[in-house]
């Protein structure tokens, strides 16, 4: 992937197994978000292929990829600001209750049942993410941190099999990040099959990830278990700085 | 009701408002005169003016309001033929006489609507009246036709080109432009290449003045003649020098040399500060025709008014108006004018015959 001469991601390969939480870290501008954008069809990679559940999804439209079960969040806070928290999450259930145009205009029992289920599920997800008190508050009234949680809730509502989160804990304080990490861990295996997380909060990444991939200047630097990464000299130099020292 | 109400639908806003206002001015003058002379049926005439914006929907709105709310006994309007076409069935449904002083689309009187009367020339009648004079006086052999792209402009071009062609005049160019266009250099470039010795123009004041001006700006000295309200002070002022020597065939010009017209011009000028043009006269005539018909009918019964309208013989500033069975006016004079030293000079005058 290149932008007007700047190569953002080059020759990068990795894979995720079911049941796994993988952390993707790397210095600013290393290409993590770009990588997300390529995996989910927002950018078209100039080379290489993306395979998901055995299917080649390279160059597919973002919504088509989402429908296969690959759902992501965005680095820049992105929610539907004028809807309430509940409505945001309910909208997230779009895929589960898709229906034909005919059914839209002349709804039958099946449609009504799907609607009911979506509402119940939405309420449950809001609960899980700890936003129950804010259930009926319009999203624009939320503070930065709460918005991050809401984004994750919307993504979860889409019932992904692979969830990809881009800096979900940015804006949470150390304490809140800890709670959030615990929630994430319980999700894998229950609501979702696997999780790919980009995060600069080292405590969080190290505690939730089964495996960590480090990206630097658009290439893979190393890959390994959290403990191995922490010990890696290159990683310390490029990424961790004094924190490792 | 202690007045006799007549409803007038004209465009008072939008791009033809300019002409619509003139009709209203003429109409007001006519009503004033009639009321000064005692009104009709012993009551004053009340003129109720509504804006129809020259669109079918708005004109229908206006008519519904005039009929239902104001209970007018006769309708006058609308300006654009499309708006008139839309209000004709409404008038027919309510069985109210409808007089237009302007709309010139030939087919209007062919629809078999017994309540509709047109106190105006059609393009066909004008062409018939003047084609020969023009061809001879201007020594035309090759003519270009330019018209505004609406029913009136297209009608004018078609009728004049047919009659002139019949006289052996060749057509070298026919073009239409949209109302509101301001730049004609491209069109005139084609005109220059076609080398006509006369150019026929069907355009109203605004488009026409700019067009004629630009003909001269392009350095063309072709003879210009056409239809439209050109025999007016406004047109001549806007066009300036370029207006000199152009010819216009109009149903009315303030310089028409009859006593009736002189009093009309005088009164009009006293009231509005300018000389009347074709539309001012149209409004004046239409209202007088309506008023006289009501007076003759002896009551406000619509059928009676309709019947008496059919027997109209109205002495207008520009001759005598009568109606055919289909409601088309004839008998009045139309004139050919030439602009000389900023004044429209009548060079030919001929009564408009009934269509055959």
């Amino acid at each position: 992937m290149t932008f007007g001469g700047i190569t953002a991601v080059k020759n990068f390969s990795f894979h995720i197994e079911p049941g796994e939480i993988v952390g993707l870290i790397g210095p600013n501008g290393a290409g993590k978000t770009t990588c997300f954008n390529m995996l989910t069809g927002f950018y078209a990679p100039s080379n290489g292929r993306v395979r998901f559940k055995g299917q080649d999804i390279t160059n597919r439209k973002p919504h088509a990829i989402a429908r296969l079960g690959l759902v992501r969040s965005f680095q820049k806070t992105s929610v539907m600001k004028r809807l309430t928290v509940f409505e945001n999450v309910l909208t997230g259930h779009y895929m589960a209750s898709r229906q034909s145009l005919l059914a839209t205009f002349f709804p039958g029992e099946a449609v009504r049942r799907a609607e009911r289920e979506a509402r119940e599920s939405a309420a449950a997800i809001v609960e899980t993410m700890g936003l129950a008190q804010r259930m009926n508050a319009p999203a624009h009234l939320l503070s930065c941190g709460e918005l991050r949680l809401l984004e994750v809730a919307v993504a979860l509502a889409a019932k992904p099999s692979l969830l990809m989160l881009d800096e979900p804990a940015a804006g949470l304080n150390s304490h809140e990040a800890g709670t959030f990490g615990a929630v994430l861990k319980t999700l894998v295996g229950r609501s979702i099959d696997a999780l790919l997380i980009v995060e600069h909060n080292m405590d969080l990444v190290m505690s939730v990830s089964d495996r960590i991939v480090v990206l630097n200047f658009g290439r893979k630097l190393v890959e390994g278990r959290p403990a191995e990464i922490l010990e890696n000299r290159q990683v310390a130099e490029a990424y961790l700085g004094k924190a490792a020292a | 009701q202690d007045t006799v109400r007549i409803g007038l639908v004209q465009p008072l806003t939008g791009s033809v408002a300019y002409n619509g206002k003139s009709v209203v001015e003429g109409a007001r003058l006519a009503v004033e005169e009639m009321n000064a002379a005692g009104g009709v049926l012993g009551k004053k005439i009340e003129l109720i003016v509504e804006d129809g914006q020259c669109t079918p929907a708005n004109s229908v709105n206006a008519v519904e309001k005039l009929v239902q709310k104001d209970k007018v006994v006769t309708l006058v309007g609308a300006f654009c033929s499309s708006a008139t076409a839309a209000i004709m069935p409404v008038a027919q449904k309510y069985k109210l006489p409808l007089i237009t002083g302007v709309s010139s689309k030939a087919s209007l009187t062919e629809q078999g609507n017994p309540y509709f009367f047109r106190a105006a020339e059609t393009d066909a009648l004008m062409a018939e009246a003047f084609a020969k004079i023009l061809a001879n006086d201007l020594k035309l052999t090759k003519v270009a036709y330019i018209g505004v792209n609406d029913d009136w402009g297209r009608g004018g071009v078609e009728e004049f080109s047919r009659d002139l062609t019949a006289l052996g005049v060749k057509t070298v160019l026919t073009e239409y432009f949209d109302h509101g266009a301001t730049d004609f250099f491209t069109l005139l470039t084609k005109l220059r290449a076609a080398k006509p010795d006369g150019v026929f123009v069907a355009a109203e004041t605004q488009d026409g003045s700019i067009l004629v001006k630009q003909i001269r700006e392009m350095g063309l000295d072709t003879k210009v003649f056409g239809v439209g309200s050109w025999a007016t002070a406004d047109f001549i002022n806007l066009t300036g020098e370029a207006a000199e020597g152009i010819h216009a065939a109009v149903p009315y010009a303030s310089s028409m040399d009859t006593p009736r017209n002189q009093t009309f011009v005088q009164k009009y000028q006293a009231k509005y500060g300018i000389k009347p043009g074709k539309y001012g006269a149209a409004g004046y005539n239409a209202l007088n025709i309506a008023g006289q018909a009501i007076a003759r009918a002896g009551g406000t019964d619509a059928e009676a008014i309709r019947a008496s309208l059919a027997k109209t013989s109205y002495e207008a500033p520009n001759g005598v108006y009568k109606f055919t069975d289909k409601g088309q006016a004839y008998g009045f004079d139309a004139v050919l004018v030439r602009i000389e030293k900023g004044e429209p000079k009548v060079i030919a005058s001929t009564p408009v015959d009934a269509p055959h």
Binding site: T40, F42, K61, P62, H63, A64, A66, R67, V71, R72, S73, F74, V79, M80, K81, R82, L83, E87, L90, T91, Y94, S97, R98, Q99, L101, T104, F105, P107, A118, A137, P138, H140, L141, E151, V154, A155, A157, A158 | T13, D51, Q53, T55, P56, A57, N61, E64, K65, V67, Q68, K69, S81, S82, A85, A86, P89, S107, Q111, N149, D151, R154
Partner: protein
């Protein structure tokens, strides 16, 4: 949601009684025009309120519907029950074709390209004399409903337009409160999020756009028969401006808003005939005043009041700028 539904039902039921209660033809005429505009405004609202893109070319569908009905009636002598639905369908096809091009654009580009389509159609209607009769328009559109049964009075037309309005409101209601409607809102609010939860922004927008075109086409078909004359001015911006004022004044993104807007504007415009020459000047001033005092339209204002009374936190959502 149920509140909105009940208000709509009550409105339709009340309206159905009108021709029996009122004999003044002028008032009936106004009621017909108000309902005609209500259908138009609701159809525009589907695009503006639920695709979230501002279409200035909605007259394309009004005009297509009007010409379709007028042609079918004058050329083939078809009755209204055939021509009006066909007008809707032809407009829907046009909507699909135009949407395929325009819906790939956003913001100002969408605004202007839709306007361009309407203008192209207007110019074609004005010049394709063989079919549309050009600026002379199509006069004498028939008024028969079935076979030879003609609608002769205003009450009849009123019931027809009421039926069309009921269809329009029902379809809009179903769409808006469905999964598809939520998807459309998602696209409006945040395109990226919508895509990431599996919404096809193009497809969803297309649904709303085509539905809007269909309803506008129905309205156009009705217009042709009611006014009995169709000319190129049905494509003109004047209709568009009226529709916009109705939708925004009533409050976009709600079902009642455009309906209320249509009724208010129709009545206001007629009422202002009282002030003669000042009419449109005053109308312009009133429109401006309404924007200044009710920036989110009537429905926005009512919603705000309801929230305030419930002592809930309120804040102007739009103040929040997303950059």
């Amino acid at each position: 949601m149920t509140l909105e539904r009940n208000i709509l039902l009550a409105f339709l039921a009340g309206a159905a009684l009108l021709p029996f209660a009122v004999s003044d033809q002028y008032i009936l005429h106004l009621a017909i025009m108000a309902l005609f505009y209500a259908v138009l405004a609701s159809s525009l609202n589907l695009v503006v309120g639920y695709v979230g893109e501002f279409s200035l070319g909605h007259t394309a569908f009004l005009g297509t519907g009007a010409y379709t009905a007028a042609l079918l009636s004058t050329q083939a002598g078809m009755p209204m029950w055939v021509t009006i639905p066909l007008a809707g369908l032809v407009s829907a096809v046009f909507g699909f074709a135009i949407g395929a091009i325009t819906l790939r654009l956003q913001g100002p580009y969408f605004v202007i390209v839709t306007l361009s389509f309407a203008e192209v159609l207007r110019i074609v209607a004005n010049n394709w004399i063989a079919v549309t009769n050009g600026p002379m328009g199509l006069a004498g559109v028939g008024q028969n409903l079935f076979g030879d049964v003609a609608v002769t009075n205003k009450a009849g037309f009123f019931l027809i337009v009421l039926g069309i309005a009921a269809v329009a409101l029902y379809l809009s209601y179903r769409f808006v409160y469905s999964n598809a409607g939520r998807a459309a809102v998602a696209v409006r609010e945040n395109r990226y999020v919508a895509q990431s939860i599996g919404v096809d922004p193009f497809g969803t927008a297309m649904q709303a756009f085509v539905l809007g075109a269909f309803l506008a086409g129905l309205a156009g078909g009705f217009y042709a028969h009611y006014i009995s004359f169709v000319g190129p001015e049905v494509f003109r911006f004047a209709f568009m401006a009226t529709m916009i004022i109705m939708v925004l004044l009533g409050g976009k993104g709600t079902l009642i808003g455009p309906l209320a807007g249509a009724v208010i504007v129709t009545v206001l415009e007629e009422y202002l005939r009282e002030v003669q020459e000042l009419r449109l000047t005053l109308f312009g001033l009133i429109v401006m005043a309404i924007v200044l005092f009710l920036p989110n339209g009537l429905m926005g204002f009512i919603a705000l009041r309801r929230e305030q009374q419930a002592a809930k936190p309120t804040l102007n959502a739009a103040k929040e700028r997303t950059v």
